[in-house]
C-alpha cells in the first residue's frame, strides 16, 4: 500500500443559503456554483476521504469526531430557520474516525468519537457535505472545533489526522467550514441588498483571499490571531480553521491557490477556495511558531487518572505531571537497525530507543517520562534539592508501559510482542505492590518473563524503569 496523502484542501462558507435559497441573491448563486465546481474538482482528484473541520461544531472536552456511519436527521438553522429545513443522510468513515481518535490520544490530545442517533450535525458540516459530496460517494469524517484550543493543540490535531491518512493510504481532501469576516447584519435584510458588513471587513477578506490565491496558507495561519481581532465577532471558537488547514498542509506556503468565489452571506464573508498541494513556487515564509508534535497543555485539571495519590501532610505534594529535573536530554542515535520514536521520551545519553537484531528488538531502559514535556506522570520521587516527594507508582508504571507500547508501534509491532522484561524499582518495599498491580493489568496479560530488581537510583527522579526484549515484527 502506498502512503496516503492530502490531494486537496477547500475553504467553504457555513450558512445554509447556498443549499436552500441560492436563487434569491446573485452572490449566493455564485457561491453555490463555486461549491458545484469544488465538488467536481474533488471528484476529479479521485479522493477517497473528506475531512471536515467545522467552526460551527464547538466542543469543550477536547475534540469530538463523528463516527456514526450513517447519521440521518433534518437540520434547521438556529437563525435562518425560515429559509427551510435540510434533511441529511451522510456516509461517514467510522473506521477512520476511530483511528484518528486513537492517533489524537497518542499525541497527547483529549479526543473522543461520537456515535449517537439524532446527534445534531452542525450547519457548517451539513452545508459542506450536501454540496461537496452530493451523492455521498466519498466517505467523510467530521471533527469539532475545540473552544479552548490554541494553535499548538489545533496543529497537533492536524498532525494526528495526517498520521492516519498516511498510514491508511488514503487520498484525502481537507475542508474547513468557516466564514472569513463573520459579522452578520443584526436585522433582517432583503436578500438583494446583501453585502459585506463593512468596508473594513471586505478589505481584510480580500487580503486573506489574495494570500490564499497565491497559495500562502501558512502566512494566513500566522495572521489568524490578527484576523480574529480585526474582523471576527468574538465568539468562543475564534479563527482556528486556518491553523488546522495549515497543519494539514504541513505548514506549507507554496500551495496552488484558486479563489472560486467570494460573496456576502447576510453580511458575513463567504468564500470557496481551492488549495492544490502542487507547489506554486511562491514559497518563502517565516515560520515563527512552535512546531509542536505532542500536545502537553492544560489537560490535567482533574486529579491523577487511575487514582489520586495518597496525601501526606509532612511531605510536599507534587503536581500530577511535574517536569522532571535531571540530566540533559539527547536526540536518540540513528545508527543502522536502530528504532526511534518521536512518541517516546528523549534518551538521557547517546543511545537509540531500540535496536533490531534478527528477529528481536532490544529496547533501551524505558521510564515514565512523557514525550515532549519530560513530565513524570504521578510526580517525581524528589525535588530539585533531593527532598523526597510523594508520588504515584501506579501512574508511573502505566506511563512506562505506554512508552514501551509507543516504541514497539514505531517498529511496526505492538505490546503483544514483548518477550522478556527486567524491571528496576528504587523502593521495592513501597512500590512493589502498586507496580505489580499495573503489571497484572497490562504486561501481565501479554505474558512475558519478568525479573524485578531493587536499585539505589535511576538517572532521572523516577521510581521505575523497564528493560524489554521483544519479538521484531516481520517485514520491517
Amino acid at each position: 500500500m502506498s502512503e496516503g496523502r492530502l490531494v486537496g484542501s477547500f475553504i467553504v462558507p457555513v450558512h445554509p443559503h447556498t443549499v436552500l435559497v441560492p436563487e434569491q441573491n446573485e452572490g449566493w448563486q455564485r457561491l453555490r456554483d463555486a461549491f458545484d465546481d469544488a465538488a467536481q474538482r474533488i471528484k476529479d482528484s479521485n479522493a477517497d476521504l473528506l475531512v471536515i473541520y467545522s467552526t460551527t461544531w464547538p466542543s469543550i472536552i477536547g475534540h469530538q469526531i463523528q463516527a456514526d456511519p450513517n447519521p440521518e436527521w433534518v437540520m434547521v438553522d438556529h437563525d435562518f430557520h425560515d429559509l427551510g429545513s435540510i434533511p441529511y443522510s451522510f456516509n461517514i468513515d467510522s473506521e477512520f474516525a476511530h483511528a484518528w481518535d486513537e492517533a489524537n490520544k497518542k499525541r497527547g490530545l483529549k479526543s473522543r468519537t461520537i456515535n449517537y442517533t439524532g446527534f445534531p450535525i452542525d450547519v457548517g458540516s451539513v452545508v459542506a457535505l450536501k454540496l461537496l459530496n452530493p451523492d455521498n460517494a466519498i466517505p467523510a469524517v467530521i471533527v469539532s472545533s475545540n473552544v479552548y484550543a490554541n494553535r499548538s493543540e489545533t496543529t497537533v490535531l492536524a498532525k494526528s489526522c495526517l498520521d492516519v491518512i498516511k498510514a491508511t493510504g488514503r487520498k484525502a481532501v481537507a475542508v474547513t467550514a468557516m466564514s472569513l469576516s463573520n459579522r452578520m447584519f443584526t436585522t433582517a435584510i432583503d436578500p438583494k441588498d446583501d453585502k459585506i458588513h463593512s468596508l473594513k471587513d471586505d478589505e481584510w477578506n480580500r487580503k486573506i483571499l489574495e494570500f490564499l490565491g497565491e497559495g500562502r496558507l501558512e502566512d494566513v495561519g500566522q495572521l489568524s490571531r490578527t484576523i480574529h481581532k480585526q474582523i471576527r465577532v468574538q465568539k468562543v471558537v475564534a479563527f482556528k480553521p486556518m491553523w488546522w488547514l495549515a497543519g494539514m498542509n504541513e505548514n506549507r506556503n507554496n500551495l496552488t491557490g484558486d479563489v472560486l468565489a467570494y460573496e456576502a452571506i447576510h453580511g458575513a464573508g463567504g468564500a470557496v477556495v481551492h488549495l492544490d498541494p502542487t507547489p506554486s513556487g511562491a514559497g518563502d515564509k517565516e515560520y515563527d511558531e512552535d512546531d509542536v508534535e505532542f500536545f502537553s497543555g492544560e489537560r490535567n485539571v482533574l486529579d491523577a487518572e487511575g487514582g489520586a495519590p495518597s496525601f501526606d501532610a509532612q511531605i510536599p505534594q507534587p503536581s500530577k505531571a511535574s517536569t522532571s529535573s535531571g540530566p540533559a536530554l539527547w536526540e536518540p542515535t540513528t545508527g543502522e537497525s536502530s528504532v526511534n520514536s518521536d512518541a517516546a521520551p528523549k534518551p538521557v545519553g547517546m543511545y537509540p530507543h531500540a535496536r533490531r537484531v534478527g528477529d528481536l528488538l532490544y529496547l533501551s531502559g524505558v521510564g515514565p517520562r512523557q514525550p515532549g514535556t519530560n513530565a513524570i506522570p504521578g510526580g517525581p520521587i524528589c525535588d530539585d534539592q533531593g527532598a523526597p516527594l510523594n508520588y504515584d507508582i501506579k501512574a508511573q508504571t502505566r506511563a512506562v508501559v505506554d512508552n514501551i507500547t509507543r516504541i514497539l508501534e514505531e517498529a511496526g509491532g505492538s505490546i503483544d510482542d514483548v518477550l522478556d522484561v527486567t524491571s528496576f524499582l528504587v523502593d521495592m518495599d513501597r512500590d512493589f505492590a502498586g507496580y505489580n498491580e499495573v503489571w497484572a493489568d497490562t504486561l501481565g496479560k501479554v505474558g512475558p518473563t519478568r525479573t524485578t530488581l531493587a536499585i539505589r537510583a535511576l538517572p532521572t527522579p523516577i521510581a521505575v524503569e523497564m528493560k524489554v526484549i521483544a519479538r521484531a515484527p516481520k517485514g520491517n
Binding site: I61, G62, Y116, V301
Partner: protein, 300 residues
C-alpha cells in the same frame, strides 16, 4: 380581564449533567447519581412552586443562540430528540413540550413595537436546544405547563456587555408588560450558570464527584459576590457589575438571561432565595428564586 402576574422569577441553570444524574425515562444515558447539591436545590425550587398557581413558563436559554435579534418558538408543540452536541454521552432526551403561542406572540409584538429585532420560529423541524430542555425538565419534570421559549440574542458578541444588557433590559421590560397584559400567571426563568470556565477533561465516570470543584478561586469569589447581592436584594448592583462579572468570570450571563430576568422582575429589591449552589465541570451554578408573588411592588 384580570391583570397578569409574574409569580416567580428563577435563575435555573441547564448543564445536562443534572438531567443525566436524575435518570428520567426520557433521557437515554444512565447515571449513578451525582451533583446532588444542585439537584436537591432544584427539589427545593420545585417544592416552593408546587402550590403556586401559574399558567405558563417564560424561559430564556443561552443555547438557542441567535445573531439576528431575539427569536421565539412559535408553534403549539415540539416533539423530538435533543442530543447535546458537547455532552452527547450524557444527554439524549426525548422531549414533548407545548408552547403558549399567544403569550409568545404578545411578547414578540411588544418587543417589535419597542424597536427590538425579533422573529417567530415556525419551522416544525426545528430542534429545541438542550438548555431549554434541561431547565424545563428540572423545574417542571411533568411538563404540564406551556412554555414561551426565548432565544439568546448574542449582541454581546457583536457589541459589548453594556449594549447586550441595554437590549435585554428593554426585552425584560416588554416581557413584563406583555405578561401583565395577558392576564396570565407566569414563572420567568433565565437558564444560565454564573461563572462559566469549564474543565477541559472529563473523568472516566462523569458523575465522579471527587473530581468536581470550581475551576478557580477567582471564579468562586465572583460567584459568591453575585450570590450575596442576590441574597441581600441588591439586584441593581448585579446589573451595575454585569460587565466586569461577565468578562472576568467568563460568565454565562453573556447570553443576556440574567439581565433580562432581573428586568422582567423590575429589578427586585427583596432577597432572592438561594435554593442551591454547586459546580458542574468547574462552572458555578446557582438555583435562585425571586418569589415575586410575595413582594408585589417591591422593586427599585
Amino acid at each position: 380581564m384580570t391583570q397578569g402576574e409574574i409569580v416567580a422569577g428563577c435563575l435555573a441553570p441547564h448543564p445536562p449533567h443534572l438531567v443525566y444524574a436524575e435518570n428520567p425515562p426520557q433521557n437515554e444515558p444512565v447515571a449513578e447519581g451525582g451533583w446532588e447539591q444542585l439537584r436537591w436545590g432544584y427539589e427545593r425550587l420545585r417544592a416552593s412552586l408546587k402550590d403556586v398557581e401559574y399558567d405558563a413558563i417564560v424561559l430564556l436559554s443561552p443555547h438557542w443562540q441567535t445573531y439576528i435579534g431575539t427569536h421565539f418558538l412559535g408553534l403549539p408543540n415540539f416533539k423530538s430528540l435533543s442530543v447535546d452536541p458537547v455532552f452527547p454521552n450524557l444527554f439524549r432526551y426525548h422531549y414533548d413540550l407545548n408552547i403558549d403561542v399567544d403569550l409568545s406572540t404578545k411578547i414578540h409584538d411588544k418587543a417589535a413595537e419597542a424597536g427590538l429585532t425579533v422573529k417567530m420560529m415556525e419551522n416544525p423541524d426545528f430542534r429545541v436546544d438542550y438548555g431549554t430542555i434541561t431547565t424545563g425538565h428540572m423545574v417542571n419534570p411533568v411538563w404540564d405547563k406551556p412554555l414561551v421559549v426565548v432565544s439568546s440574542n448574542r449582541s454581546r458578541d457583536y457589541y459589548s456587555v453594556e449594549v447586550m444588557q441595554e437590549m435585554m433590559i428593554e426585552l425584560g421590560r416588554v416581557t413584563r408588560e406583555a405578561i401583565l397584559e395577558s392576564g396570565k400567571k407566569v414563572v420567568v426563568i433565565a437558564s444560565n450558570s454564573l461563572s462559566h470556565r469549564h474543565f477541559t477533561t472529563e473523568s472516566e465516570i462523569p458523575e465522579d464527584m471527587s473530581k468536581e470543584h470550581i475551576a478557580s478561586h477567582a471564579m468562586h469569589l465572583w460567584d459568591m459576590r453575585m450570590i450575596e447581592y442576590i441574597r441581600s436584594g441588591q439586584s441593581q448592583r448585579i446589573l451595575d457589575e454585569m460587565p466586569e462579572f461577565t468578562e472576568q468570570a467568563i460568565a454565562e450571563s453573556d447570553g443576556g438571561g440574567l439581565s433580562w430576568l432581573l428586568s422582567t422582575l423590575d429589578t427586585p429589591s427583596y432577597p432572592g432565595i438561594l435554593h442551591g449552589y454547586g459546580t458542574i465541570i468547574g462552572t458555578g451554578n446557582a438555583i435562585v428564586e425571586w418569589p415575586e408573588r410575595n413582594h408585589k411592588g417591591a422593586s427599585q
